[in-house]
């Protein structure tokens, strides 16, 4: 019977420890499963990437802006983290990498989010202090940054979308990608200017430019078509010209070797 009081004491201690642990757990700012279940891969964007960047910045691996796009800077940070923690170095953020990262760092989601919403970009989110520089970052729940194909800015894409919309709205989707592809083929060709704007505004090159239709507001489809063309889809078979056989006034254009017809336009070399 001498065991009893001891047991009682142990039980009390255990209860105390448990309450301590659960208590401290509820105080802890972040749950351990903050990331969603996805494997985060280079090129991804969204909340998981924000958390990834914030955590990596917290422990000093990531030095860039927290912008929610998994680009090169994030990629090197992930790889160096994986190397330091003895994980396979592949730049893929799966369950093991996430667990290690969650253990090694802190992430105060509401704080980071509120700073981002206030339009601040972090220069340092780390141990010493929670500093945020008051500089234009972003606002609201909109994405802060966006992936663009190498060599092109969002504005280049917009300008091309304007041209595609002016030239080929009402054509099948393929025909819109094709018009964008012709602009790109011209940029590559020695006989045409080397810039998006140079090709589009070349006098007498596009009717939509000559009659001002280029300034109609383009829709999402034409923007998609431009992105597809930039990313490597060329429905025209490397065409440099196209024309509408019903309205073409130049006899010269008929002498070009024709590659194929898409919708109302004939594409040629």
């Amino acid at each position: 019977m001498r065991i009893r009081p001891k047991m009682k004491r142990t039980a009390v201690t255990i209860a105390f420890v448990i309450s301590l642990v659960t208590g401290s757990l509820s105080i802890m700012p972040e749950p351990s499963h903050a990331f969603s279940g996805q494997v985060i891969q280079k090129g991804a964007s969204g909340d998981d990437v924000i958390e990834l960047q914030a955590r990596l910045q917290y422990i000093g691996y990531y030095k860039g802006k927290i912008d929610g796009v998994y680009g090169w800077g994030t990629y090197w940070a992930v790889r160096n983290f994986q190397e330091a923690f003895g994980l396979p170095i592949d730049g893929l953020v799966g369950a093991t990498t996430k667990n290690k990262l969650v253990k090694a760092s802190k992430y105060d989601k509401s704080y980071v989010k509120s700073q981002i919403e206030k339009g601040r970009s972090f220069t340092h989110y780390g141990k010493q202090s929670k500093q945020a520089k008051n500089k234009a970052g972003s606002s609201g729940n909109k994405p802060m940054a966006t992936s663009v194909p190498p060599g092109f800015s969002q504005n280049d894409i917009q300008l091309m979308a304007n041209a595609v919309h002016g030239e080929a709205r009402g054509e099948p989707y393929e025909g819109q990608v094709a018009v964008a592809a012709v602009i790109l083929n011209r940029m590559q060709s020695q006989s045409f200017p080397n810039t998006v704007s140079g090709v589009i505004f070349e006098p007498r090159a596009f009717t939509a430019v000559a009659d001002g239709q280029i300034w109609l507001t383009p829709n999402e489809t034409s923007k998609r078509a431009v992105l597809d063309a930039i990313n490597g889809w060329d429905p025209t078979g490397d065409a440099l010209y196209y024309f509408n056989p019903d309205t073409a006034t130049s006899a010269w254009i008929w002498t070009r070797p024709q590659i194929k017809k898409i919708g109302k336009h004939i594409f040629c070399n």
Partner: protein
């Protein structure tokens, strides 16, 4: 009688004047559009030019040998002079824009002097290097401001003709976004005293040796082509199919197949007549909110390639654009990356459907290559790299160089400051084949304004 005649003559005259007036009006409008277009062209060329200047200065920072540094600096010089002439074409005479022009001038002077110097004997000093770095940062500021103005111009359809008017009438307090934007650009400059459009390393020009031109497989019929296309694209509930043959201007003959389905989706596919190899296909439909991660989509893309027996490919790049993921795969042989053998796969993130494939480069270039042993070791090649670059990743790769030849290179990915660079060193003689600054994600300008 006379009265009737007068009425007829007068009314004819009235109609004639009206017609003449209308013609004049039309001509005037055409000329206005023309003038506006040349302003727009100069403006967009300018922003594009500044983009390039910034990237090209960045690339020179990571270069090492005179052989590639001199041409790169000469290119910066060329780009600045182009940008300078673009500024000159804008109706900004009434706006103080001289600081920006001076900035362009100072980049031009520096790059010219450095480009014509024998950098082998007289390499860039530390101060000059610091100056170059400084120019790189400053050009980033100007690039950013100009892009904001450009975004506003495109978003709100702003006219340069209006700027000209506003400047000419000198109305105080007129709210003109372009003028304000340019004033900011100017403020940013106050503190300071040729493009390869390729998404892959190497040159984008076609190799002379095009395998599709030499393709001797047995031709297939239109019917067979349609069957193959259906199988390949896997579109459901197709209700209309059109097939057309390629014209005489094409390098080889192919079928174009266009399908539509009940939900208004459309699919286009081109397939070679000989052998029925699918060159590319694209599906256009509304893609809903992402339900898959980029990584899940990646697996779908790999599944697709395996199903269609496209072998020896490794993932090179993956990018999410809103609701779709675009994956670039490149060839691999004996552990060496073959960049000319590229395939792009586009996957919808709402349901994992493969909504586009571009395999033409792969079909044109893919073959078993005789790969030579590299003459240099990796550490020998590394010595050709600027010591300021911190190397993160390295491998052997085959690229197309600017002479349109395939060459074996050591590919180094390294960082300098916050930027990442790709440096390709010829594995035979250590030539710097390409030094390229890899772009970062772009801020969404809507949020910044």
């Amino acid at each position: 009688m006379l009265r009737i005649l007068t009425i007829v003559v007068l009314s004819l005259a009235a109609v004639g004047t009206g017609f003449w007036g209308y013609q004049e009006h039309k001509e005037k409008n055409a000329i206005l559009i023309n003038a506006e277009n040349s302003y727009q062209r100069a403006f967009h060329d300018l922003t594009f030019g500044i983009d390039r200047i910034h990237d090209q200065i960045g690339a020179t920072l990571a270069m090492n040998t005179r052989k590639s540094l001199s041409p790169a600096l000469a290119d910066v010089w060329r780009l600045t002079s182009e940008a300078h002439s673009d500024v000159g074409q804008l109706p900004l005479t009434l706006l103080p824009f001289n600081k920006t022009e001076e900035f362009l001038g100072s980049i031009g002077d520096f790059s010219y002097k450095a480009a014509v110097r024998d950098l082998e004997k007289e390499p860039l000093t530390n101060e000059e290097y610091a100056h170059l770095k400084n120019l790189h940062e400053q050009s980033a500021d100007i690039q950013n401001e100009l892009r904001k103005v450009q975004h506003m111009v495109l978003k709100n359809n702003l006219r340069w003709m209006d700027v000209e008017l506003a400047l000419a009438t000198e109305k105080e307090g007129t709210d003109n976004t372009i003028i304000d934007g340019f004033k900011t650009v100017e403020k940013k400059s106050q503190g300071y005293s040729e493009t390869n459009v390729s998404t892959l390393p190497g040159d984008m020009n076609k190799l002379d040796d095009n395998h599709l031109k030499k393709n001797k497989a047995a031709p297939i019929s239109q019917k067979e082509a349609v069957e193959k296309a259906k199988e390949y694209v896997q579109m459901k509930q197709v209700n209309d199919i059109k097939v057309t043959k390629s014209g005489k201007g094409s390098d080889f003959s192919f079928y174009s197949i266009h399908m539509t389905n009940k939900d208004g989706g459309e699919a286009s596919i081109d397939m070679t007549r000989r052998g029925g190899y699918p060159l590319w296909y694209i599906i256009n439909r509304e893609v809903g909110k992402p339900a898959l991660s980029l990584n899940d989509a990646n697996n779908k893309a790999v599944e697709f390639l395996n199903r269609n027996k496209m072998k020896d490919l490794v993932l090179y790049d993956s990018t999410q654009y809103d609701n779709v993921g675009v994956f670039t795969f490149v060839g691999e042989q004996d552990g060496i990356r073959i960049y000319p053998d590229a395939v792009k796969v586009k996957v919808a993130l709402d349901n994992g459907q493969v909504v586009g494939v571009a395999a033409n480069e792969y079909l044109e270039n893919h073959h078993e290559r005789k790969l030579e042993k590299p003459a240099l070791t990796e550490s020998e090649a590394e010595k050709f790299i600027n010591s300021k670059v911190e190397i993160q990743e390295e491998r052997l790769a085959v690229i197309k160089n600017d002479l349109n030849k395939e060459v074996l290179c050591y590919e180094f990915l390294g960082t300098l400051g916050e930027d990442t660079y790709r440096i390709l060193i010829n594995a035979k003689d250590g030539t710097e084949e390409q030094v390229e600054k890899l772009r970062r994600a772009e801020p969404v300008y809507d949020n910044l304004l």
